[in-house]
């Protein structure tokens, strides 16, 4: 078994992807599709939660996408949740099961899951932020005994935008997982919470001292969630975030993902709060 990164680095050019195949795709919302991708036989992705790959459609381009499946459930295959927002992602949405795509990676720093052992785990996901967090959540669930409480807060724009409904149902049923969902704009059928993600904090009682928070969402969400967590006594070093930047090379060269001195593709995309709290460009 060779890891994909070794394969990528073994290429004559680090910018050349490895061909892989879409084995399953599922429409989750009008904008998001879930792709299950299979690497050529003999290769494993060998990723850690929070890392990303460069996804290629030859002739269209390449874009960085977070891996949304857990390493503990990889099996030579992995999943990417892709929102159609740009040229590459729209092209990927047009593909069908069986189509060949290119993959480079995995790249970037992951969530330091070993440092989370023994802690209460709080996950705060806004919109598509649930995708990268899902890879961590499932890993935590698969090693459930290693952690304290598991609390998942998820905010979507509308009920139709809710991602991973099957996973949410499983998490909701699990007795040792506390799941709270909210939507900004309800529809007629919605009976759940309505309001911003911060409104969910009223639903839970928690002790900040022993808690690790992993937050992924749109830039605006970070500010509000951070002030809530800090006010609740979470240690700054126990707050972890993922930053979405346009990594064009993923190898620390192209410059596009740089926030001040940090290349997000190298030092990130996962950062602890103290590492970025003084960086305007992290939250601007």
């Amino acid at each position: 078994m060779t890891t994909l990164l070794k394969e990528t680095l073994g290429h004559e050019s680090i910018y050349m992807p490895t061909p892989a195949r879409i084995v399953k795709m599922e429409t989750m919302t009008p904008y998001e599709k879930l792709f299950r991708i299979e690497l050529p036989s003999g290769f494993s992705l060998d990723h850690r939660p929070g890392q990303f790959v460069e996804l290629s459609v030859l002739g269209v381009g390449e874009a960085p996408i977070s891996i949304c499946s857990s390493p503990s459930r990889s099996n030579g295959q992995f999943e990417l949740c892709v929102r159609a927002v740009g040229k590459l992602t729209n092209a990927v949405h047009q593909l069908e099961s069986g189509a060949k795509i290119g993959i480079r990676g995995p790249f970037g720093r992951s969530f330091p899951i070993e440092r989370f052992y023994g802690r209460d785990m709080l996950f705060v996901a806004g919109g598509l932020g649930l995708a990268p967090l899902r890879s961590l959540i499932d890993q935590v669930i698969d090693e459930r005994g290693m952690f304290g409480r598991v609390i998942i807060l998820y905010g979507a724009r509308t009920p139709d935008d809710i991602l991973f409904p099957e996973d949410l149902a499983i998490w909701d049923e699990a007795k040792d997982i506390e799941l709270h969902i909210t939507v900004d704009y309800p529809n007629d059928r919605w009976v759940g919470n309505v309001g911003r993600i911060t409104s969910l904090f009223d639903k839970i009682e928690y002790e900040g001292r022993n808690m690790v928070a992993s937050i992924v969402g749109p830039p605006i969400m970070y500010r509000f969630v951070l002030s809530e967590l800090l006010a609740h006594g979470l240690h700054e070093g126990n707050i972890w975030m993922s930053f979405e930047r346009q990594m064009k090379c993923a190898v620390g060269k192209c410059g596009h993902c740089q926030m001040h001195h940090l290349y997000t593709c190298q030092e990130g995309p996962i950062f602890s709060y103290p590492e970025v709290k003084h960086l305007e460009e992290a939250f601007s």
Binding site: E12, I14, Y15, P17, L58, K100, G255, H261, S284
Partner: protein
């Protein structure tokens, strides 16, 4: 490797022809539209080795403005890397540009090594030349400690009037001189002349920055909220000319190009610029460096703080090209000096405030002292 050879100026032409006959592509500064540009030298007479600043650095021979990374077939998914490197001798590289190439070497070999750059760099031979005078009013190589050749070089020429002294810095350099008959070991007189020429060089260069190079990272760190950034943001046109001419800029964009059958294509990288509005744009139309002021700040801070801290080498070599290329006269010298002034005022503030307090408390005494002094001086008259 530390030996010096002497070559009469008249032999330069035959040496270049010899390199060409050995299948080296020879590149050097040529005059074009009143400026100097690095181009392939076909006829050695085109070479202007004694030139002021070139419009563009020789960087393009290591990182071309447009470069195919690999070619592909969209149907079969076959891909082929395009690593192209032809043995190239770049003649007449100024020492600031040598330092810039040193930085590029470090960057492109650190972490994930870029094979495209490495292959081209390995096939490139650098013949640098000692600058005996500053290029123009914008360059500040003395401040940036780049007005001498870095240790890592191949051949380094110094103009001694009717001959060149050639410092051989590497085996690659030796290789270039191999078989040259018109090159000799320096005589006592040659070495004396070299020393005289060098001694005459130093007074020609003046400091143009108010601060020391090693203070710049701290100065930039302390002035991230300077009003200067907004002032630059007001006038900067976001044209990216500064980064186009910079010898150490290496940011790039990647695009796919396909033929009319949509079957065969190439993934291409092209120079990009952090000064362009869309450089930091991400999905969902979020731009985390949308302001012109923030982009200017990023450029200057990256050059003399981030890169210095990451690689131990300044990202600015003091060549002055960005200031020369700028349409609205944003220059390194003015920027760094203004920031240093603000930095000094800022760090001096607590001291000045203390002194002011001291003055207020001891006001009477101070006045008395002045009076006394005046009285004394009047008395002595």
């Amino acid at each position: 490797m530390n030996s010096i050879k002497i070559m009469p100026k008249g032999a330069l032409r035959t040496w270049i022809e010899r390199l060409q006959s050995r299948d080296f592509k020879v590149v050097g500064p040529k005059a074009l539209h009143g400026q100097f540009v690095f181009e392939e030298i076909v006829d050695p007479q085109e070479l202007v080795i004694d030139y002021p600043m070139s419009a563009m650095p020789p960087k393009k021979y290591l990182l071309p403005p447009r470069e195919v990374l690999f070619s592909f077939n969209t149907r079969t998914m076959e891909m082929e890397a395009e690593i192209t490197a032809e043995p190239t001798v770049i003649i007449g590289v100024h020492t600031c540009d040598m330092h810039a190439i040193n930085l590029l070497d470090t960057v492109q070999s650190t972490g994930f090594a870029d094979q495209h750059y490495r292959a081209r760099r390995d096939a490139t031979y650098l013949v640098s030349i000692e600058c005996l005078k500053p290029c123009n009013a914008q360059c500040f190589c003395k401040d940036m400690e780049t007005f001498s050749v870095p240790e890592d070089h191949d051949l380094h020429f110094t103009d001694l009037g009717d001959v060149y002294s050639i410092h051989i810095g590497s085996e690659k350099g030796e290789e270039l001189l191999r078989g040259s008959t018109n090159v000799w070991t320096p005589t006592e007189a040659d070495l004396k002349r070299l020393n005289e020429v060098m001694a005459a060089k130093w007074p020609e260069f003046e400091f143009r920055l108010e601060c020391d190079l090693h203070e710049l990272p701290e100065v930039l760190g302390a002035t991230q909220h300077s009003p200067l950034w907004d002032e630059l943001g007001e006038i900067c046109l976001s044209c990216g000319a500064c980064t186009q001419v910079c010898p150490t800029c290496y940011c790039f964009d990647v695009t796919d190009e396909v033929d009319l059958t949509l079957e065969n294509g190439q993934r291409v990288r092209t120079w990009d610029s952090c000064q362009l509005e869309k450089f930091a744009l991400v999905a969902g139309n979020h731009n985390f460096r949308s302001g012109v002021a923030a982009r200017q700040r990023h450029r200057f801070t990256r050059k003399v703080k981030y890169q210095y801290e990451a690689f131990g080498t300044m990202g600015c070599v003091g060549c002055g090209r960005c200031g020369t290329a700028c349409h609205v006269d944003i220059t390194c010298i003015k920027t760094y000096n203004r920031l240093y002034e603000e930095y000094q005022a800022k760090t001096a503030e607590p001291v000045a405030a203390d002194r002011a307090n001291g003055h207020r408390e001891a006001n009477g005494a101070v006045t008395a002292a002045v009076v006394t002094k005046e009285t004394v001086s009047e008395g002595t008259k």
